[in-house]
Symmetry: none
Subunit: 216 residues, 2 copies
């Protein structure tokens, strides 16, 4: 099996090892020399696999200390991929649309959930909206979390990074009004309105970014 490409087997083996041995983020994994021997493979080949995993942000290596399993939320993947891939307008558009798709679906889910739409979260939101340092991203992330779909949340998280911090910065006074409208619609479980308002804000923000040339 697996004709050529030993390093790919190693990537898989390491992944399996991490699962089976229940290695948690932050834990140390065996040294390169040790792994190379147990896997019956040259150290350079093993390193090719490790470097790949490191570029993905799955592991973190510290000279003189060892190799550690890192928190997957810190992956550098998006950085690398975006610098290579995002020259393509179609890709850029696809990412935006897909991200927006998950966001709107989250709002839909929240509105359909009787309990969620009556939570105190909304009051808390409004309070924070008045504060100085309310970040756009907090607003959207909270919505994603409240949707209850963890898979969707994770996909959204990756896409967000991939498109280069689309929600960077704090909200302006105009945006506060928009957000209040969205929250109000959610509270009365009016999904259509909430989504329409959100979409309008989302696309306004996107145009704003393009105008300011906020691309990497």
């Amino acid at each position: 099996m697996s004709q050529s490409k030993r390093y790919l087997d190693i990537v898989r083996d390491i992944r399996d090892m991490i699962r089976q041995e229940k290695i948690k983020p932050g834990d140390r994994i065996p040294s390169e020399r040790e792994l190379a021997e147990t896997m019956q493979v040259g150290r350079s080949t093993l390193r090719e696999a490790l470097r790949s995993l490191e570029l993905l942000g799955l592991i973190e290596t510290r000279r003189g200390e060892g190799t550690f399993l890192s928190d997957y939320r810190n992956h550098k993947l998006v950085e690398v991929l975006s610098t290579f891939v995002l020259q393509d307008n179609q890709s850029h558009e696809d990412v935006f649309q897909t991200r927006q798709l998950h966001e709107m679906a989250a709002i839909q889910a929240i509105c359909e959930n009787e309990a969620a739409s009556q939570m105190r979260v909304w009051d808390s939101f409004r309070l924070r909206l008045k504060g100085e340092s309310f970040q756009r991203e907090d607003f959207v992330r909270e919505l994603m979390v409240l949707s209850g779909n963890r898979l969707s949340l994770k996909i959204w998280f990756l896409l967000k990074q991939y498109s280069g911090n689309p929600y960077e910065g704090t909200v302006s006074s105009e945006e506060i009004d928009r957000m209040n409208d969205i929250l109000t619609a959610i509270e009365r479980q009016d999904a259509d309105t909430a989504i329409r308002e959100f979409k309008a804000w989302s696309e306004w923000l996107q145009k704003e970014r393009v105008r300011n040339g906020n691309y990497s």
Copy 2:
């Protein structure tokens, strides 16, 4: 600058080289030995960078031939999603909802696209619907493709596999009626109806699977 981690510099250098020399997808990039020399770096280090890029799907290496720049659109974003995000215990429900989400969004996109909703594809569909061997999966996949969002298509494909062939089998006569309704709605660009009908079918099918215990 960039103390330690030469291979990261190389990743960047290669990217710059690709841009400046206007290397297009499918083109061949210099050999490992050649690159190593021009970049004043050992071949093993150079290889670590190349393997990383390969794992991301940015380049393609063929033994005996060389290294080639691969199509940006083949980036491994979704594959990464699968290994890093899908690995932990996700409920079937999350996967189902997210898959359905992408499907409904595809229908929405098709309906909003004037050209797509007037394509001949629909006639072709109807013809095939009458045939014996019409697979459920063909129907949905075609919709995903027609949506035009390749990223969404990839995510859908992944989720479909992950949930164990939800569209296995051929359509029954009852389903043919459902599908005809969906197609008709799409043709008159009635997204709401099309989505509602699709959702009904999708959830009916899901219940059918649960009843038959068709889980992987």
